[in-house]
Symmetry: C2
Subunit: 461 residues, 2 copies
């Protein structure tokens, strides 16, 4: 294994060049607000499950450049020595408001907003986007698989296919967040308190003289926990052999757990397995399937084929490596030096100002308002809450994964069915408040897209 | 940041359950060979660039379960105490043969083969697949972008969008491997010796009274290294302002580096920027573009539009998060207890036995042979070489990234153009040797798919 990366170096070079420019201009401490949001949802996605905040707050709280970090940056020969001195003292002293992890959010709504000295808040862009994008994608994809399975167990089998070990760990975390059934990832199960899940590989069957020997050997060791993989050579024959071994074990007072199918036409094969297990008087043995599954295939098996499947193991698709879409997430400056800012580039215009999102408690729509606005009326609740103040997490910034899961479960129960649909979901209404519209219009009427000219924000000449 | 993951726990649970079953059967030490390969290439990909071996060898060499790992596994209440004792003593004692990193390989060809006691070799499956799949995907995608750019610089701007920090680091590594121009990822530049790359963000322009102020402030600090981002408000106007600031700096004896376009119709805008820079007598200033690029868009700009672009910054697509396809990689048992093994599941059949790949030096085809076969004739060279022996890397297993890049450059130069094509590439011929075909036929004629029944491979009863 390569050694651990210094967290502070997980930044894009331009965060450093801008910080130095701000410093040399003498404006590095001017206050700024950045808003992190997803511009538009992938075509078939009706919602997002916000995730990643805990790692972002930890990164901000721990932000510092070590002597070896500074020596490495010095090697670039880009920066003057006084910038390195400045970096050595740098800590994150700003504040963060965010939607709690596990919250359901929609396009354009801030997942979090960072307020602080511009050089500090800018520096956080890369890591915050990296983690919020990754974890929100993984949590949403996992929630979609859970929805497709309609109460059947869904297990994370993706560690081998997820892009890298960080994504593998964060996937296990997100599976815990959205209440999936378990994970094959031992480290993920350990760290995030998810049930460990797994049975045997085809290689185990191949390493035995024949399939029966493999089944007997495995059942002998794992007894009631045994799930036999029946598709290594010929699935119908594998099912019969599993039934035979289950009978042998029953004679010893042991009831096997089930069978797993990992290839072929899963619906009919699951039906065959179910019928044969029932006929052989093993109605309690479960049928577990895996192999190239995603939310659409799970939905097809459950909803259209009514396949008698008890659980799904999902790999590639849950790992978001090609299965799930890329989120169009951005981290945009919305306030600088107490003035709202907006960008007007074609197709990339942003709403100005720090925001609050108000959600109607009956889920009929959200209102995107300026952060200073009060609740429109008591049919609304606010989504963003203070999670970090002057560089330290607030009590709300210390929610653990169990609390986040509880919050998710509550919102998941309330989330209207049309928004949960796997294809062509309903569009949730997110309206700007009157004040946000007025501010934007006033800015556009003045000097389009720019902060109003203001002598105090000019660089010293 | 969450604390470092214990590497040994980056396994799927079933690696542990199988290890315990093998142990209880008394066959955990029987020798096995597993072959890691990619079953088929993504539709538009003509080749793969092998990558990830260094991390795999490090993982194997460092493999051990710490007392806290064992305590965590014990919490699962799945395993008996003597299995934990066995795990505590476990080290990887096997051997690895592999194609060197940076090698061009094709579908079905082993990237690496692990030979050793079956429980050890099986345990490595998850981590090896995770890293080889990730890094081979990233290296290949980076090579495709390099090919599309036809000698122009390609920079990795993906850290914010790559799925997690491990993938971000490995991307920088793979960019170094295939000779890309630089990375925005500071940690990646530091660790892998890639040039750090980056300029300014839109937020920097927005944080100034107007665009001119921002350009002047940045140029004042970064002088000859300055690349001005000209699309925050209105690109043609941004280009004129960049020219004006370039003129002001020239009056001070400083020549700016260039401009960057990050939105809009990049081809015509680059042509406009080039024309205006030339007219204003800044022919040495470069035009750099970014924003939603992938190999196809780069190819369109370079090959079809002949856009006068000097460099490309690539984000999402290079990060493989939805941009690049998932590789259909597998880790299959091919030998057990000195006997070849193959799997015959529908659509998932594998060639038996440990392999060597022989490549014709004129790239007219590869021969997939059994590992014991000698060179067909001297027009062939062998691709797999011993990189680890009895748990320790050989001299060939200690190649560094610079050597791997040298090897890549040599193969890249030789790789025929039709295989490099971005769309509908030629199909490289990979033929099984006569001996491999004979072995497979003999196995199928005997007992389809299974190891021949052999009393010594039966579990003790």
């Amino acid at each position: 294994m390569t050694s651990e990366v210094s967290p502070a170096l997980l930044v894009d070079l331009y965060e450093l060049t801008m910080a130095d420019a701000y410093r040399q201009e003498g404006i590095a401490d001017r206050r700024a607000t950045f808003s992190l949001f997803v511009r538009s949802l992938p075509p078939e996605w009706g919602y997002l499950v916000a995730a990643g905040l805990e790692d972002c707050l930890s990164w901000l709280q721990g932000l510092h450049f070590t002597p070896s970090d500074l020596a490495a940056i010095d090697q670039f020969k880009i920066f003057p020595p006084d910038f390195l001195d400045w970096l050595a003292k740098l800590r994150f002293t700003g504040s963060v408001r965010a939607v709690p992890e596990g919250s359901i959010v929609f396009a354009g709504e801030p997942l979090l907003e960072v307020e602080g000295p511009i050089a500090e808040a800018q520096l956080a862009e890369t890591y915050l986007l990296n983690q919020m994008t990754l974890q929100t994608t993984l949590a949403t994809e996992a929630a979609r698989c859970r929805h497709a399975a309609q109460g059947r167990a869904v297990m994370d089998f993706a560690l081998r296919r997820v892009p890298g070990t960080d994504a593998g760990m964060k996937l296990a975390r997100c599976c815990r967040l959205v209440g999936l059934g378990g994970t094959s990832n031992v480290a993920g199960a350990v760290r995030y308190g998810l049930a460990p899940s797994g049975t045997m590989a085809h290689s185990f069957v191949q390493a035995h003289a024949d399939e029966m020997d493999a089944f007997r050997a495995y059942a002998q060791v794992f007894k009631e926990a045994t799930v036999l993989l029946v598709d290594t050579y010929d699935t119908p024959r594998g099912i019969e052999r599993a039934i035979q071994v289950a009978g042998e074990m029953r004679a010893k007072g042991i009831e096997l757990h089930g069978v797993r199918l990992d290839s072929g036409d899963l619906g009919p094969l699951a039906a065959l397995a179910r019928r044969r297990l029932d006929e052989a008087e093993f109605p309690a043995m479960t049928v577990f399937v895996s192999g190239g599954l995603d939310e659409y295939k799970i939905d097809d098996l459950v909803e259209r084929q009514k396949a008698p499947i008890d659980g799904f193991g999902v790999g590639t698709s849950l790992g978001a490596a090609g299965g799930a879409p890329t989120l169009d997430s951005v981290y945009k400056l919305v306030n600088f030096d107490d003035r709202p800012v907006r960008k007007t580039s074609t197709g990339k215009a942003t709403w100005p100002g720090a925001k609050q999102v108000w959600r109607r408690t009956d889920w009929t729509g959200d209102l995107m308002a300026l952060a200073g606005e009060t609740s429109p009326d008591d049919s609304y609740t606010a989504l963003l809450e203070p999670v970090m103040h002057s560089g330290l997490p607030t009590s709300r910034g210390k929610r653990d994964l169990v609390e986040a899961n509880t919050l998710f479960e509550r919102q998941w129960l309330a989330l209207p069915g049309p928004l949960k649909r796997l294809r062509t979901p309903a569009l949730h209404s997110v309206e700007p408040s009157a004040a946000l519209r007025r501010l934007t219009a006033a800015m556009d009427a003045g000097r389009p897209g720019a902060v109003e000219a203001d002598p105090k924000s000019r660089p010293p000449s």
